[in-house]
Symmetry: C2
Subunit: 856 residues, 2 copies
């Protein structure tokens, strides 16, 4: 294959692979093919740009003669992937004394020289790389001198450049262009640019192509301006005109202010739709065509020159997670995407934000002000004005709303602690907005009509009302409304596109998605998320319910076996009732119940006063309660008498739980006629023999219950693999297990020697300093925990190929971890109900990725 040329003209038929000519070139080629009005342009290859940076030759002869008839050109970045960013465009190349004179004929001398001045400044800074401070000093001095004309200013700027460069300001357009290309190429090669793009995920060898594009300047007196338009809502994804338009000609030439328009009609100010309705409608039509040819919702960068519309670029439309789903669902409806492609387009994590709460739409609200809705969902809380105050409030378990002029990385910890964010400044892509969306926090930005006094901790509303620290407010990040007081918030509405989209995941995913559910109430909620069963029912949570705790404590404080048995007898019907409800709700879906796991001392009160109260309530000597609590205290409860160790030491507990499971399952099966398939999971196993012993006790109880109920139950016994030893010995454990479920929380804790509860103090610093590439409790550490999982899977399957393998624990809701589970060949993941949508999408994507479908 012949090497691709250093430069090609961007046309409808040109071959413009992104790795050579940048993503933008391809887009422009497609837009041309769709007959959109794109100004003439040339793409310089990544390879040629690299050579330009080092001074090696590149064949750019295609550019010869482009500066005919006073045309001006721009140099625009075209990195291989758009998200990497890069040097900003250099505009109006070809502006010289001669071109300025020609321009003056069309637009008048003052305007022409204003343009010329701006070009010289931009060229001096971006191309000649002159000192910005010196230049700004000069400009400041000149502008202050109100008597100076733009022509005089231009002269001063040219002199300044000549002094600084020790040669005349280039009056040959081709020299300007070549210098601009070389300067841009070098900037990309520089360290600052590299660090910036690497922070955005660019690889070390990321390449930049450049586009030389006609400025398409209209010289008439007609409508002129530049803008950015998208026809879907950033927040909701629903159709609507959004964007900005900077109208030229009306503006104050000296300050650069004025001429700012909304795109569509807006009560807050003038809009393109009103000012130039024809242009607006054309733009709408062009965007619709671009959406088809780009196969996605786009934002058009456009210019209007003497009433003529030019499309300079079409980028992916900015979108919240909710909008992303809405957009792809509509793309599928419109026949533009197929479902698999649609699923690959949405980052699973973004679904979380859709699960946020909302302000009750029917409630009467006092809206204090409305600003930019930057991250959806609603939150109420007390006002705080600093990150530290937010953290303090969170430590007191008080909900708070963090208000700042604007946020910066130093505020991140405070943002984590807040329930919502409100900023006076910034837009939809401001720091606050971006971070809040990442955190799934409701956020409103650009609330310019409130006055914030951070020092005095007061905000003054447009009507003069003052709110101080501690006052309650509510944010609606979906509508942008700041609302007085704490409002009743309703749970998220997951109907519509969300459910349509999620249902598609089930067509493609090969892994089950179960929920971690502790109570019947949780199970009801989880069922609404379209899960495949319960992957982890932590029975201990049932004992914390009022009334049960007493019986539990009696069991723990029992003096002898008789007392203990009596207390267990009282707990049995309560557990049975829970399980009956659970099995009924789950209607035949698998329900995996973990036998009691936490150390028993967790059920005892912690303070002496509470223990005193307990002793009185139970009519026990205080000394006995205290002595028992002291006996049971542990240095490292995580590594102590819990899980199966408890099951072997106080076997009555597991016997009671097993009986409750079997009796409940038998009752529901008999009543409903539907087969109930309980799974019993043994926690914290470190040795095979533990499994054998517990399993044989389970079998004994099973036989007893079968005899008394006459119901045959199709139950399964398995092991929660959460110690490194259990993972390494999975082959042996598999002999006695019908399923293994990886408890990656504890497995991570033990593999790292790191308690999650205690790691909080330094985890953020660790991740920030790159000691850990990411928090291993958020995403499974592939290097070591992943290896243990892999070894366990291999060894278990070698012994029992049909063994059922799952993962329970919050990693089940992390997309990267779900992908790892798919790679490992697990059969299901299980996570908290609210994370199951993420898991379903991640599982679908993982399956599609395995099948060769690539993500966005």
């Amino acid at each position: 294959m012949a090497p691709l040329p250093d430069i090609v003209e961007i046309t409808a038929g040109a071959h413009l692979p992104a790795e050579h000519y940048g993503a933008r070139s391809g887009t422009l080629g497609r837009l041309l093919k769709a007959e959109l009005p794109v100004p003439q342009g040339f793409a310089i290859s990544v390879d040629a740009v690299r050579r330009l940076a080092t001074g090696a030759p590149a064949d750019l002869s295609l550019l010869d003669g482009i500066f005919t008839s006073g045309r001006l050109w721009s140099v625009r970045r075209a990195p291989q992937e758009r998200s990497w960013g890069g040097p900003r465009a250099v505009l109006n190349l070809g502006m010289t004394d001669a071109a300025c004179a020609t321009l003056a004929k069309h637009m008048g001398e003052e305007a022409a020289f204003d343009q010329y001045c701006r070009f010289i400044r931009a060229y001096a800074l971006k191309v000649a790389r002159l000192d910005e401070d010196d230049l700004e000093e000069l400009v400041e001095a000149e502008y202050t001198n109100r008597n100076r004309s733009h022509a005089e200013l231009a002269r001063a700027l040219l002199n300044f450049c000549e002094d600084a460069l020790d040669e005349p300001f280039p009056q040959d357009p081709m020299v300007q262009l070549r210098n601009a290309l070389r300067a841009t190429a070098r900037m990309w090669a520089g360290t600052t640019a590299r660090l910036l793009r690497e922070a955005r995920g660019a690889p070390a060898d990321a390449g930049l192509a450049l586009i030389v594009q006609d400025m398409a300047l209209g010289m008439g007196k007609g409508e002129t301006g530049v803008g950015l338009a998208q026809f879907s809502s950033v927040v909701t994804g629903l159709p609507g005109a959004h964007g900005r338009y900077q109208r030229d000609g009306q503006k104050d030439a000296a300050s650069g202010r004025g001429g700012e328009h909304y795109l569509g009609r807006d009560r807050r100010g003038p809009s393109l739709e009103e000012t130039a309705p024809l242009v607006f409608r054309t733009l709408q039509e062009l965007a619709a065509r671009a959406r088809v040819c780009e196969r996605d919702e786009v934002a058009l960068q456009f210019s209007v020159q003497d009433g003529v519309l030019w499309v300079l670029d079409a980028m992916l439309a900015e979108r919240s997670g909710r909008a992303a789903v809405e957009i792809v669902v509509r793309l599928v409806k419109d026949g533009i995407l197929d479902r698999a492609e649609a699923l690959m387009r949405v980052a699973p994590g973004t679904l979380t934000e859709m699960l946020h709460r909302q302000v009750d739409p029917k409630a009467p609200l006092e809206v204090l002000t409305t600003a930019i809705a930057a991250a959806p969902g609603a939150a109420s809380g007390r006002l705080v004005f600093s990150a530290a105050a937010a953290q303090a409030a969170a430590a007191q378990e008080e909900d708070c709303i963090l208000v700042r002029h604007e946020t910066s990385p130093e505020d991140i910890r405070g943002m984590h602690s807040a329930k919502g964010i409100l900023t006076e400044r910034g837009g939809i892509t401001s720091h606050a907005a971006v971070i809040a969306r990442g955190l799934g926090l409701p956020c409103i930005v650009g609330a310019a009509d409130i006055h914030l006094d951070e020092r005095r901790r007061i905000i003054t509303l447009p009507d003069g009302t003052r709110l101080k620290e501690g006052d309650e407010i509510t944010l609606d990040g979906t509508t942008g409304e700041v609302i007085a007081g704490c409002q009743a918030l309703s749970e998220p509405d997951l109907s519509g596109s969300f459910n349509v989209f999620l249902d598609w995941t089930d067509e493609f995913r090969t892994m089950g998605v179960r929920a971690n559910v502790d109570t019947p109430a949780d199970a009801r909620l989880a069922r609404t998320f379209g899960i495949d069963g319960i992957g982890l029912c932590r029975t201990e949570h049932m004992f914390f319910e009022p009334g049960r705790l007493t019986a539990m404590r009696e069991m723990i404080l029992a003096e002898d076996e008789r007392e203990r048995a009596a207390a267990l007898d009282r707990l049995l019907p309560m557990q049975r009732a829970d399980f009956e409800e659970l099995f009924s709700i789950m209607a035949g879906q698998p329900v995996c119940i973990r036998l009691l796991d936490p150390p028993l001392h967790e059920f005892l009160p912690q303070t002496t006063a509470e223990r005193h109260a307990l002793a009185e309530a139970m009519d026990l000597p205080l000394a006995r309660v205290l002595a028992r609590a002291e006996d049971m205290a542990e240095y490292n409860p995580m590594l102590g008498m819990r899980g199966v160790r408890l099951g072997l030491t106080v076997p009555g507990i597991y016997d009671m739980q097993t009986r409750a499971i079997f009796e409940a399952a038998s009752a529901v099966q008999e009543r409903s006629g539907t087969r109930v398939s309980p799974e019993i999971m043994i926690p914290l196993v470190s040795a095979n023999r533990e499994v054998q012993i517990v399993k044989s006790r389970i079998e004994r109880v099973s036989a007893e219950v079968r005899t008394s109920t006459g119901q045959h139950l199709d139950y399964r016994v398995g092991v929660m693999v959460e110690t490194p030893r259990a993972a390494l010995k999975a082959g042996f454990i598999a002999h006695h297990s019908e399923f293994l479920s990886f408890g990656t929380n504890d497995l991570t804790q033990m593999t790292y020697g790191l308690s999650r509860d205690d790691a909080g103090k330094f985890m953020r610093d660790y991740v920030k300093a790159g000691v850990y590439s990411e928090d291993p409790f958020h995403s499974i550490d592939r290097a070591a925990v992943g290896e243990l999982l892999r070894l366990a899977v291999e060894r278990a399957q070698a012994v029992k190929p049909a063994i059922d393998l799952g993962l329970c624990g919050e990693h089940g809701g992390d997309p990267d971890s779900v992908a790892l589970c798919q790679e490992l060949g697990l059969h299901y993941v299980s996570c908290s109900p609210y994370r199951t949508p993420v898991a379903r999408l991640a599982a679908a994507q993982a399956a599609l990725a395995r099948a060769g479908q690539s993500a966005i």
Copy 2:
């Protein structure tokens, strides 16, 4: 090769491999070769015995005609390995009415019938397997009837047998013999015998050979009796006559009592040496010859028949650990063993007991009584009379001496808690003696002249003095003396054979043995044990010394960096002084110093009262101390802010420690002219980046100290591999490490998810129930922890073949774990000073085993 015959005569030249004819047959063959007087005997093969048990044919025709001229024969067990035990011997086969009549002519009717009676009873029980209770009832009734002669009793017994067997008592000697062989073979095949021998370590297919041996009965009136003799002390191993002799003829024939003799002269009673000096001297001479032919110190089982000495067997002489060493050292001196063989003969664990303390031999002592010295060493403490009381005392950290009539398995926990054991009953192989030797506890048994009232918790001494619970006594388990009061005890004397023996280990072992040493005082002690360096210096212990704790606490409670730096500056000279002393003592041997590991809150007082005192002492607000302590509290300190996490979070601490190490090393190197090679070890690593960061700080400090002192230090930086993740990522960690040292205590805790501190509550039950085959904190779990070690070694060596690999932690003193280290190719183990002798021997044995030398 032709199959070995079912039976062979035991002769000097016979081929008698132990796997076919039992260990004893080989011994007898060798004794015959050495011309010892061994009665004629035949060995029946393991294979033939198996057939006898099932009734399948075996060719025993060699036995035809052995019952000529009234000879009596015995059937004795000969398992493949002596330690497996087995059915007891059946004696005097061939005793019939006729034989009894013949015997009566020689020894008189009463004596002959007495013999006959005893044979019938033994045959009825061991061969005919009649009901023991019925038989004993009869015997009791008969003996109570004083008028009955032994002849009448014999008749009664024969009738009883005939009734029970429904056939006459066999009067054909050959029938008696065949029945005895079959019965013994069947007993070995039975479940009880299998369980018993498996408890002694026998494999499932353990085989038993049988020996048919002439009773060599002398019919004259000369000296007659049976005995067991060994000519080395059980306790010390030093030469001396020990054993017992049961003299026949003088005894009260009816009761079976009397005739008991010591072997050598003894103030407590008659002895063989006095009663039959010629026999005694012959026995001495025979034992010396047996020692040579068995290549070990032996105990001779002998009989004297009408003045003629017969050797029935030569077993390994009973020996304490100390005796074992003494014995093999003498065997080497006498040219009987080479050093390698000698090293393989001593179980490493037995060395521990030699390291016990002793009563100061020059102190004036009030010896209350003297009894059997059953386990060496001395101990002082308060008297307790039950296992529970011993445990209670231990819980209070009070030393106690457990006194019992005799001990049983229920007492084991109490024995663990006691400092020494005293029993009223039992001998050198009693339960108390065996267990105490295993535990390395001083023990005195058979103190029959004290009267123990367990219920009233009082002992009455021979002179009427009473001691009650709580009174102080001292035991000298080496001499058997019970001494009044708590005595000053001196540290063990490790001169003589012990040191000779240990020095031999250094000729063979290929792994280094280092000591875990925390202070200069420890280092001085460790040097006396012939170690190769310090494998682990836990610097935190230095901070607990008075005066330093204050500076440490100031550092912890520092409000800002300046305060912290000031406190660290005060700690620097203290650490430096410690390290200087350490480097001086170790005189150029490697010293591996672990940077601070425990969480800082361990240095703060634990109770509010103590914290109050601290606040006052430091002139700090109490609230600050309390708040700081609360801040620092952790749920699972083992998995929290400790080790390298501390090093990254409060880098000043490691900087200070590193500086102290380098400054101290430079000073000692300059002063002594000897190269000092400090090793700096980073604890609790879980990610490679942790190592990189700490290492670069160490390098910076190193450069600074080199500049200021002008000394070039040959230091090394390494990692303590103690998290599963560090083990799995050892390849990456090796890039930045000059050595890896496995911290198998923590590695075991994390692999099992089990805190050693909290496991005590159930570990014993777990091991007892076989949930864990043994306590993984005592001996490395080969299955999982071992796999992690293997992976780490492979991965580290793949990256850096020359990397130094060691193990620190108490597993370094466990022989099985040391053997594992040898298999893994580690370069050294390190354990507490008192365990280094065990480690040296274990390492030598492991190296010899690798080289093909087999253990005892």
